[in-house]
Symmetry: C2
Subunit: 605 residues, 2 copies
């Protein structure tokens, strides 16, 4: 875990090779990898270096793909998990001159779930965790909003926006417009300078979030950091740290300092730990303290279940599966215990000001999302959505970037209503959905039940998909589950990019299909979303090197390979059928007597 | 393989417990399995015994599910792969009095791909393969159509139709009408009496086909029979034997005699073997001989690529991946080599008469289906579809049951056009699609890329889905791949049943979600599509028996289990919030002071 395996391929979304604002990619590694290398696209200033994955085809051509894997796949960069990544945004943040360093909130034992009392509260010196780099938190001067939304609204194109324009192959002005309109968000806390800027919005490539996090039952800090780097290697665009057990503060510090992607949390989980798991003992003060603690660490977006109102809880009473969101059930329990309106709803404007001063993005949680097919699209769910729409408007007034979370378990015929309503009610704020799962009957395969719904809802406008692993409903995902979940969701996201006609999305499919038709097996593997598994599956029955150039595989064997026969037809048959498909057969028979001509056009490369 | 593992759970589509025509299910096994048993629903005559899977819940209730696993999961039945299954339809077929036994075509060495010559041709005595039961083939007297379509059109409700009515929970008249209209097919050759009748049509549960078959490179006879029983255990509704290597005739005999589900083939593959793999040497005579050989064995449906016309081949010239159907590429090569129209097209009416006399169902193959995103919905594909519509009309005139095969690789936004066009052009004949794959970029995960498309196209009307395994494009699937492919497609099919609002489909989801909400872990496992894997995944982190009744799993741990909190809310909070959700808070606070009442309705069972 301390040094990256540079040979681990990562595959993600395509970027067209036509770059509107950047120069040619530079070759990062002198030692090129056999199938691909990490490259960078340079912006208008030399410190804008956008990572890409350059896949080398045996034809000599390169295919450029979107890359989320961070410095871990760059052989020129030495990473050390105890020192963290380089703070590449630091100069941009400081350069804007609108933030200040300050002493920050002392770290207390209870932040890590440790119960013994300590008079001053300072349990752990962060120097011990990150010896080379004592961190001092930063926030907006005089409480001002230092958000990308505020900058976009006043017409500024930040280096982060330019970075994203290069990454997404659009103009910087498009990025600024989408952010200013609230149709996209760029989660990036001023205290997370290590981040490689990315954007979430329906106008851009569909993104995928991977959840990690220990629970009280299992898992360790090291495992969580490793899951994060593992998830981003396979293409996770953001990671949520949903830890709930011990060492929650320290785990988060490790994850943040080593993460090239935005990190999201649900502050309510840690707040609940601070009150010994008793929902009714939660207070606005404990919650606010937790939000500040996490904002100072650099959390980029926070799920806030402020839409679970007291009057909505009874709407869940006749449900098949009640309330299945952890945050939703905690807030419902609090509201009922006190018979008061949610402290998150009541203090929402103050929370906005806190988030704005760090540029933490809201992810307004759907605490009443359906947990079964029977509960989909019910009154509880849509009542909360209307409240999220109201909160979205308030957040925007405070210049806080905002996205909206969505379900859940929804049968296919009810999916579109979800995205359409959300887009209408929330003024096109980015939708961030969990699946949805299209049936309840396949535990152990819920990456698939939900991958189906995820692809569809992303096609219809969802901006980011929260992955579901095979362990959903059954246990905590391990490393293999994380990989399976990420790849399933990258498939859903890319299928949606294709269906939306995203510019350049099909270039990747075309490159792979060309390689397939021409039996360039190595190119197929290197272009695959998971090159390792594709190669392993092929080699299971045909391991010899010669099979890598063979014009067949073991699926059909040499005589029955349609691609081989199709190739042979192109090679063997002459004439002008192509140019005059309707021509009569008699006319053609003479030409076919003299075969061996080259009729068909050469394959496009 | 010789005796079944009766404990292997099979899970498939739901049947409502409201049975229109049948009595209560009988308990087949004295020794009940812990989680479920094989039951039978009896029709109006005692020899109509429709298998079901009865899942026993810990609440005392049973849930009845559709069952494809055949006698192999019935502990009261002893099966022997060398003797085959009991011919349960035999009396029904004989009873109709419209068929006759006849000597049949001698089996020849080349039927098994054996090249040495033999003057009389009789290589193998089937007695040696199935010692207890010498088979004599059967066909319609005087060449008459003995098809379920012919019976349905003249108003007959056959025992097979009644069997299906029970299985699908509809009236027998609905079955007859759908068959008569050509909107559904019941593939069941008179020479495959071992079959448990099933139906393919959009009015019924969506079905799944699993392909098995050796290729020249790998696989053995025993493996293929085992793959068949394995696939049906996990829910395959039909199986296609796509063998192309040696022992093709004998493999097929074994598969048919042991198969409780319809078996499909592509006769062209075996015909090509008979001419040493040289497409240009194929003739109508060799093909016809092969069709009769297979029809006499009992093949229930045959893929015929009669829509690949000479004039369509040039339409594929500019394609990214040419012709990717094996049958399509073979026929294209033949047409070009001879510069003549396809012998399948030219002799289609004669072929209809042959199929009608055995009740073999047409599966009109889409030889020009797209093999890449770039080629989807192109002129080649749709030109062939129009010809398939023409052939469909001819087949119906000859009383041959007919379904139409569909693509292939299609991005999500182009899927609906496929099913809509097919339904229009082919007069609502059942559509039978391969996926479609919604992106090309994920070899090793094409069960998922295609499961997404399969769920969508089935929702929109596809009647049967041909599965895709993780090995697609890479190699021959093994046992694990077959299971993964079948389960992925059962998920897609069931998601579509839900989205279509199929009566009773949601009962299964509701039963599982109830079990989930009430922490009845064993019920969740037993109701799961794959109980073994669900249980294994749960036990990976919480193996102790006590965890099977715990009110949490390792995913969230005890404190953060939303279902537990949600349950606690229902238990702890009293009042009439449920009855008057809009009531003010003041009014409620008094009631909540005295908590402990039971507010919420008990969970529906």
């Amino acid at each position: 875990m301390t040094t990256q395996d540079a040979r681990m391929p990562v595959s993600v979304q395509p970027v067209s090779t036509e770059k509107p604002v950047s120069a040619e990619p530079s070759v990062a590694a002198e030692k090129r990898e056999p199938g691909w290398h990490k490259g960078y696209l340079t912006g208008t200033r030399p410190d804008i270096q956008v990572p890409v994955r350059q896949v080398h085809l045996t034809t000599g051509r390169d295919v450029t793909l979107y890359d989320t894997s961070g410095p871990y796949t760059d052989p020129n960069v030495t990473t050390d998990v105890r020192r963290g990544l380089a703070p590449l945004r630091e100069n941009w943040i400081i350069g804007r001159g609108d933030t200040e360093e300050y002493s920050g909130r002392p770290v207390r034992p209870e932040d890590d779930g440790i119960k013994h009392t300590s008079p001053r509260g300072g349990l752990r010196n962060l120097d011990a965790v990150f010896p080379g780099r004592p961190r001092v938190p930063r926030r907006g001067r005089d409480g001002q909003a230092v958000t990308q939304l505020a900058y976009a609204r006043r017409g500024d194109i930040t280096p982060e926006m330019e970075y994203i324009a290069i990454r997404e192959n659009v103009s910087p002005e498009v990025v600024r417009e989408e952010i200013a309109a609230g149709r996209a968000v760029m989660p990036m806390n001023v205290n997370h300078p290590e981040i490689e800027p990315m954007i979430i919005g329906k106008r851009f490539l569909v993104k995928v979030n991977a959840n990690i996090g220990n629970s009280a039952v299992t898992s360790s800090i090291e495992e969580e950091v490793d899951k994060m780097t593992w998830a981003t290697k396979w293409g996770a665009d953001t990671v949520m740290d949903l830890s709930t057990g011990r060492n929650i503060h320290t785990t988060r510090e490790w994850v943040l300092r080593n993460s090239p992607v935005p990190i999201g949390t649900v502050p309510l989980y840690q707040a609940l730990e601070k009150v010994d798991g008793k929902a009714e003992e939660l207070t606005w003060e404990v919650y606010k303290d937790t939000v500040i603690e996490q904002a100072e660490q650099g959390v980029d977006y926070m799920t806030v279940h402020a839409g679970v109102l007291l009057r909505y809880v009874p709407l869940t009473a006749r449900r098949k599966t009640g309330i299945v969101s952890r945050g939703g059930s905690i807030m419902a329990a609090w509201c009922l215990a006190h018979h008061k309106e949610s402290f998150l709803y009541e203090n929402f404007e103050e929370l906005c000001d806190i988030l704005a001063s760090y540029d933490v993005t809201y992810s307004l949680g759907d605490g009443l999302r359906p947990g079964s097919i029977a509960d989909a699209n019910d009154e509880a769910q849509f009542a909360e959505l209307r409240t999220l729409g109201e909160l979205n408007t308030i957040a925007k007034r405070h210049n806080v970037q905002t996205m909206i979370e969505g379900p859940g378990h929804v049968p296919m015929h009810k999916i579109k209503e979800n995205i359409d309503l959300q887009q209408e009610i929330c003024e096109e704020a980015p939708f961030y959905t969990l699946g949805p799962l299209t049936t309840d009957v396949a535990p152990a395969y819920d990456h698939i039940t939900s991958g189906i719904g995820a692809a569809m809802i992303a096609w219809w406008g969802t901006a980011m998909l929260c992955y579901v692993t095979p362990k959903e409903h059954l246990g905590l995902p391990n490393r293999d589950d994380v990989k399976t979940g990420v790849i399933t969701y990258k498939i859903a996201a890319h299928a949606a990019d294709l269906a939306k006609g995203h510019p350049g999305a099909q270039d990747w499919d075309d490159a792979l299909s060309d390689a397939r038709f021409e039996f360039r097996w190595e190119d197929q593997f290197n272009l695959a979303m998971d090159p390792d598994t594709a190669r392993d599956f092929h080699d299971e029955t045909l391991p010899a090197d010669g099979a890598k150039t063979a014009h067949f595989c073991s699926m059909c064997g040499p005589k029955f390979c349609s691609m081989k026969i199709s190739q042979d037809i192109r090679k063997e048959h002459g004439g002008d059928l192509l140019l005059d498909p309707e021509a009569g057969m008699r006319q053609k028979s003479a030409e076919f007597a003299a075969s061996g001509n080259r009729v068909y056009l050469p394959l496009a490369d």
